[in-house]
Structures are given as C-alpha cells and as structure tokens.
C-alpha cells in the first residue's frame, strides 16, 4: 500500500462523500484539535485513499470534523467527513487508513453518510475518578451537586468569560461508586457546548475531589446522538 496507489484507481464522475469513524485514545488525548487536523491530513495522504482535494492556491484534502475534542479527553466515537473522487471499496479505505496509525487511533467504520454532522445533538462522556471511595455517600454527594440547580461556573468562550449554570447543558447524569467513581453524563452538543473538564473543575472546587497528586481522572467521549436520542451514524 502506497501513497501513490490512488493514481491507479478509476476516477469517479463526481466526488462522493465518505464518513470515517475513529477513536482518539491513550497518548493521542494530549494532541489538540488543530494538531489532529494536520495529523489526519497526513494519514490520508500516506494511506493512498483517493481523497478529493480542495482547489486553489493551497490544495489539501477536504475534511470536516464533527465535534472538536479538548486536550485531555479521549474518545471512541470521532467522526470526520471527507470526499473521494476515485473508485475504492469502503473496506479498503479502512484497511489503508488503519495501516497508517497507531493503536491510539484506529478507524472503525467508513461509509457513505445519509445524515449531516450538524445533526449531532447530544454527546455522552464517561468520567472516571481515582480517589478515596471509602466514604459511602460520595456518589450521592456528587449526584446531588450535579442535579441541584443552579451550578454556576465561569465558562470561557470566544467572546470572553461569563457565568453559566452548567446544568443547563445536562440531559442526564448517573454516578456509580466502586473502587473508583464513575460519572456518565449526557450533554448538549454543538455551538458553545460544555467542555466536560468543567465538571471535573466543579468536583474539585465544590467537593474537594482531585486535590492531591494521588488522585487522577480520565474522560472518555462514549457516544454522540441525534436530537431524539438515537445513536448518531
């Protein structure tokens, strides 16, 4: 498999859209969205898949990312739309892409989309906290904090900092207490969405969790959904 292979594939009359699903886990969680965009374009070039290029002064493979992921958050459900302009089976697209990435970023699906990325309305996260869970009421405290309005926090956006009730973004939250503390939250996606890191900040500020170097946490984006709650595809 080579970057040059696409030149041997049969051209299509019109480019067709192609949706790719991939994960961004492990060490890749530390890479910013901007860096991911550059990395992705190189992966596409190396793989030799017939990605359609934008025309103009600085041509590059056309890519549209679904929801940006913030640094420190992992995901098993990232979507990106590209276009292809030559004939290639979707299984080959997957094989070619997966030959060019590490375990931290594997592609799990490639298909012609029938929906728009903008239809994503909800996004779910699992937040796992390694902390002292010997206090049996911890889960209830966390649940209480995350369900009692208002929970006012400073939120940064392009237009500056403002105070918001972060619970406005919540659809649901569950808390499980075992060896670790596991939060599952469903948040509103799209413009001005809530960075799940803010939930961690709330736990730190209001409940004193994650105050020591002995405690740690992970955040995983676990799913994206249509407005009616069906899983996005």
């Amino acid at each position: 498999m080579s970057a040059f292979d696409k030149q041997k594939m049969k051209p299509l009359k019109d480019p067709i859209p192609m949706r790719l699903k991939f994960r961004k886990v492990g060490d890749l969680q530390y890479i910013s969205h901007l860096d991911l965009q550059r990395v992705m374009s190189r992966i596409i070039v190396r793989s030799g898949i017939p990605a359609w290029y934008t025309q103009g002064f600085n041509p590059h493979a056309k890519m549209t990312f679904a929801l940006p992921l913030s640094v420190g958050t992992q995901s098993i459900c990232e979507f990106i739309d590209i276009k292809i302009d030559r004939e290639i089976p979707t299984s080959e697209i997957l094989d070619r892409l997966n030959a060019q990435v590490t375990e931290d970023m594997k592609f799990s699906a490639a298909y012609v989309p029938t929906t728009k990325l903008a239809q994503i309305a909800w996004v779910s996260y699992e937040i796992n906290i390694c902390t002292d869970t010997s206090d049996g009421t911890l889960a209830d405290k966390v649940k209480g904090l995350l369900t009692t309005r208002p929970l006012i926090m400073k939120k940064r956006s392009k237009s500056g900092e403002r105070e918001v009730d972060i619970l406005d973004y919540f659809k649901s939250v569950t808390v499980e207490q075992g060896e670790t503390l596991t939060l599952r939250v469903m948040l509103r996606a799209g413009e001005g969405s809530l960075n799940p890191e803010m939930i961690v900040t709330a736990l730190r500020d209001r409940l004193g969790l994650l105050a020591t170097a002995e405690e740690s946490y992970t955040i995983m984006r676990t799913g994206v959904y249509f407005e009616d709650g069906r899983e996005f595809e």
């Binding site: 901007l34 990395v39 596409i44 420190g72 990435v101 590490t102 002995e214 740690s216 992970t218």
Partner: protein
C-alpha cells in the same frame, strides 16, 4: 492506583511534547537488546524533532537489532518544576524509562547556548555531572554535533565526543561497548581507552592540557601512546550509500520543520570566512539526482507531507539542481506535493524552473549579503554583489512578492562606519528597485534587515579575531538604528549580550567547565530563549569560576597560540585558515571549490562526487 503520568501531562502546557506514542517511533524489547542508547536533544521537542541529523542517527542506531536508541528532550520549565516536586527523573520518550538507567547517553550539541540544558538534563536524570564522579554503573555520556568541534568547555562533563558525521562511528562505538560487556572485559576506563582508538572518538580525559602563564594553552599530551595525538573527524565518503532514514517518526504536534527535508549534499563550496559550517563540513559530497528522487518518493510515502524542502547549506550550488528539480517535478504535482528551495541564488538557476518551484510558501524573499559594502563582502568572502541582490529582488517583485528579508552581520573584522552605512543604503536600494520594477505588485514593499553580531568561531579563518566589546556592539546597533529612517525598512538585531556569551563559549577551553557548572548552579537553562537568558548570571558564573569573559570573547588570539580546539582535526588546515585570514585583510576573495581548489586540506578525508582534486568520481 492513580495515574501519575496523566496527572502530570494534564497539568503542563503543550503535553504533546511529552506524551510520545508517535507513528513511526521504534519500540524494541528491552530485555532482548544489548545496549540501550538515549539520544538527547538539549532543547524542546519541537526543535529536536526537526533536526535532520538526529533523525538519521536515530535510524542508523536502531538498524542494529541489538541496540535500542530512544529520544529524550529537555522538559519546559513548567514540566521541570513538576518533575522536581514529584521527584520524577528524566525519562526517555519511547519507553518512559529513566535516562540514568541507559547504557549510553548521547547529547547533540547544536549551539553553545544549549550547554546549560545539557547539565540540567544530566541532573534531572540523576547522573553525576562530572565525568570524574561517575561510577562503573553510570551511563557513558557522549556528545556530538557542530559544537563538538570545540567541546573543550564541556570536557569535564562528557566521557567522550563523536567528531564529525556519526552514522558509522556511533555504531562502532556502541558495538565496542556491547562486545566488552558481553565478554566481560568492560570497565569504564578500559572501554574509554579502546573507544579513543575508533576514528572520530575523542576522550578528553585521556589528554593532559597544560597552560602558559598568560592563560593560553601550552600543550595537549595524550596519556597513552596508542591513541591519536589529534582526533580526525569522520565523514561519510559516499553520500549515495550513506544511511538514509526511510521511516521517520511522525510528530503529532507541530514542529519547526513540518515537511520533508531532503538532504541533497554535505559540505559547502563557498568558504565564507566567518562560517563554521562551511568549513567543518568540507569536502562537498553530493548525492545523485536519481538517488535523491527515490529518497524523496520514499519519504513522501512514509510521511504524507505535502512539501519537500531541498536542504543543504547553499542549495543552488548543487551541481545537478535542474536535473533534480525536473525529476521531482515529474511526480510531485500529481501528488499535490510542493517543492521549496531555501536561500536560492538567482545567478545560476533558470527563471523557468524557478516558476515551477516555490522558493518559500510565503510572500517574502530572503537574501544574506552579510555585509553592507563590497569591500567588506570581499573581506568575508561572501561572493555576492549588489547586482546579484538587485537581480534577485527584481525577479521576486515581478513574481508578486513585496517583502524582502536581508541578513547582515555587524562587528566583522575590519568593519568601519562606512560598512554600517552600507547596510542602510542597501536596504534603501531594494526599496528603490521596487519602484523601478515596471510590473511590480500594488502593495507597498517591506524590507526587513536582520543584523547579527559577529561571533568568531573555531575552525574558520576568523577564529583568531576578537569580538567587538559589548559597548561597541551596542553603539553600532544604535548607530544603525539612527541611520534607518525609511518606515518601509524594519530593523531587527540580535541581542549583543547573548552574542558575547556565545563567543566566549565557542572559543572556550577546558577551564570553562567551571563556569558552566556555576551557571548551572545559578539555575540557568534554555539560554537560547530570551525569557530565560540572563547576562548578569553569566557574568556571575564566569566570575565565580575565576574566568574573564573578555579573555575568550574579546581577545585577539595569538598567531602562534595553540588553540583549545586544535586537539581536533576537522580536515581543513590551520595554514589554510591563516592564508584566508591574510587574504581577508587584503579584501581579496578566494574562488569557490567548483572554480578552483584552494588546497584547504579537507581532500585528505576522501569523498565521492566531490570537487576535490583527488576525489573518487569527481564532479
């Protein structure tokens, strides 16, 4: 079961510098290898990952099944503070294992101002700073890269240095280590003694240095009869056959050179008299266009980069440049890859070809006249004329560019006020030329002049020269500032204090290790970054070590003086440097290697596809 690493990475700026896991990194079974090699770059990840030399040596060492070479970079200060607070040692990028547990720890020395980072990294790795204090189990510390040509200021901290091109020599060195370990003949001293017999390996502790009453070097005496009196640098003779890294590590975060760097040839035909690289990388050795085209294709497939930059000291001096460009242009447009040629000289390159390649992906053109008058340009043997510059800018203006960057040096030997005036005048002529160009762009022109301070470097015809003292450097900067009145001319200059420290370190001898140790104790690191550099601290460090910075930076070294770096033989002879210096005083230029050999001595090293008279396959 907290995850310390993730806590740490989530709390620092740019965690991608440390997270690793890049595509293309080399992972081996540490139990199955015979030597673990930590290749340290004493600056940030972004800079280190862009270094072609490191990439080559990383690949060359890992080609050996039983050697595992890993990368190490200097942590930024926020990371360092956390590491110290948590008592976490410096670790290697691939395995995350502490650097102190490695067999061999190498540092590439790219510029003098990274020396304090070397010491800081040794400390973070819990490795004793002084070579003399290291026990049998401590890693062997080896240095290399351009600053190893005068490594004397670092002599106390390193067990040895690799001089010249390291592709073969580092492998031989590590093989010797493995052999002695496996047959149980290894002792630290025994190994270093054997290593000193490998071509290009310099073991400073095996040479006794004595000094004259005035502080100059009296002699270098080898402590054993079976090691060379002078250490001759190593070169790769045939560049077509030299190791070439086919699968580079792909950084996830943006690095300084995020593109394919195609090394076209080594060495330089020019012989600018201030330039160390142009002297110590001699002789020129070219690759053939066919080999280069194959290598470029291979790198494109391995990286997916959309830009190829032809990288060499002066790319337009490559004897087969049009051929190479045409070969590359056969496939690059279809693959959406652009070709860029840094620092192009228009004098020997066709306009038609130039239109097909982008000189840089920006609207600006860079040109380095280095001096303001033809006289001074002749003194430094920079063979460009004002006409060359005007022709180049005219072409650029016609091609739609409006911004021109000009590089100069101040404080060059024999410089007068007239030469400084010349810098301003040259910038003004470029502006004038813009308005003389009939089909110029509509936007207003912008000329940026960037003026560095002359730093006398070892192994150059100016190695004996004194640097202007600080007051003079500053006065000249101010003078030039007053001279430039046109608002379309932007004037930048280097920090004179930094240049002075650089000059002192560049021409230092072994006693300077004490000043470096002192600087380290004062908490200095990242001196190449203006936010960390402190001239006051450097003055204190020199004072604390009982040394005078002026002795190294501002003294004119004696004609017959033994120079601290002459323990190294870079191929080019002292006689050549002295001849060139005389010609400089007489403002006489020297022909480049292509026009005529001037018997610099580097031909004794051999080399294929070179301009040297005795070369195999001469150009």
């Amino acid at each position: 079961m907290s995850d310390k690493r993730s806590v740490l990475l989530k709390s620092v700026s740019k965690p991608g510098r440390y997270s690793g896991g890049e595509y293309g990194q080399i992972i081996k079974n540490k139990k199955a290898v015979n030597a673990r090699f930590a290749f340290c770059f004493p600056d940030t990840y972004e800079i280190g990952m862009s270094n072609l030399g490191v990439r080559i040596l990383y690949g060359a060492l890992n080609e050996q099944d039983d050697i595992w070479c890993e990368r190490v970079y200097a942590p930024w200060d926020d990371m360092e503070a956390k590491m110290r607070a948590e008592n976490m040692p410096l670790t290697a990028h691939e395995s995350g294992d502490p650097v102190g547990e490695f067999d061999i720890v190498a540092f590439t020395l790219q510029y003098e101002l990274c020396y304090t980072n070397v010491l800081n990294m040794l400390e973070l790795a819990n490795i004793p700073l002084l070579a003399a204090d290291r026990g049998e189990d401590a890693p062997i510390i080896i240095g290399g890269g351009p600053c190893a040509y005068n490594a004397e200021p670092l002599a106390d901290f390193f067990d040895c240095f690799s001089i010249g091109e390291g592709e073969e020599n580092l492998v031989e060195f590590t093989r010797l280590y493995i052999k002695m370990k496996l047959d149980h003949t290894y002792t630290r001293a025994g190994f270093l003694h054997e290593a000193a017999k490998i071509g290009g390996i310099y073991v400073p502790s095996l040479y006794e240095v004595t000094y004259n009453g005035d502080g100059t070097v009296k002699s270098y005496e080898p402590k054993f009869d079976d090691i060379p009196r002078r250490v001759t640098k190593r070169i790769m003779k045939d560049m077509d056959k030299a190791y070439f890294p086919k699968k580079p590590v792909m950084p996830y975060i943006e690095t300084v050179h995020d593109r394919i760097m195609l090394e076209v040839y080594r060495g330089c035909i020019r012989g600018c008299r201030f330039c160390q690289a142009g002297m110590v990388y001699r002789p020129v050795r070219e690759k053939t266009p066919e080999v280069l085209c194959d290598q470029a294709k291979c790198l494109f497939e391995a990286t997916g980069y959309d830009e190829i930059s032809l990288s060499s000291l002066s790319i337009s001096d490559y004897s087969r440049l049009p051929e190479l460009c045409n070969l590359l242009l056969e496939w690059t447009p279809e693959s959406m890859v652009s070709l860029s040629l840094p620092s192009l000289r228009v004098d020997n390159f066709s306009r038609e070809l130039m239109e097909k390649v982008e000189s840089v992906r920006s609207s600006s053109l860079t040109f380095a006249p280095e001096a303001g008058t033809q006289r001074l340009r002749d003194v430094i043997n920079k063979n460009v004329t004002e006409e060359d510059l005007m022709r180049t800018v005219t072409t650029a203006f016609e091609g739609g560019k409006t911004s021109v960057k000009l590089y100069f040096m101040q404080g060059l030997p024999t410089e007068t006020e007239e030469d400084l005036d010349g810098i301003a005048a040259l910038a003004e002529s470029v502006i004038h030329q813009f308005y003389q160009t009939p089909n110029r762009p509509k936007r207003a022109p912008q000329v940026t002049i960037s003026v560095a301070c002359f730093v006398p470097k070892p192994f150059t015809p100016f190695q004996w020269e004194a640097q202007d003292d600080l007051e003079t450097l500053l006065a000249k900067q101010e003078y030039l500032y007053q001279k430039i009145t046109d608002r379309k001319i932007k004037y930048n200059h280097h920090d004179a204090q930094v240049s002075r420290v650089e000059a002192a370190l560049a021409r230092g001898d072994r006693r300077m290790s004490a000043a470096l140790l002192e600087a380290h104790r004062l908490g200095m690191r990242f001196d190449a970054w203006s936010e960390f550099f402190s001239y006051e601290n450097w003055l204190r460090a020199f004072e604390g070590a009982g040394l005078d910075m002026a002795f190294y930076a501002n003294r004119r070294f004696g004609d017959d003086e033994i120079l601290p770096w002459e323990i190294i033989d870079c191929g080019v002879t002292r006689e050549f440097f002295a001849r060139e210096r005389e010609k400089a005083y007489a403002a006489k230029t020297t022909k480049n290697c292509r026009e005529q050999c001037s018997a610099c001595g580097a031909n004794k090293l051999g080399g294929e596809r070179s301009w040297c008279p005795n070369a195999k396959n001469p150009l």
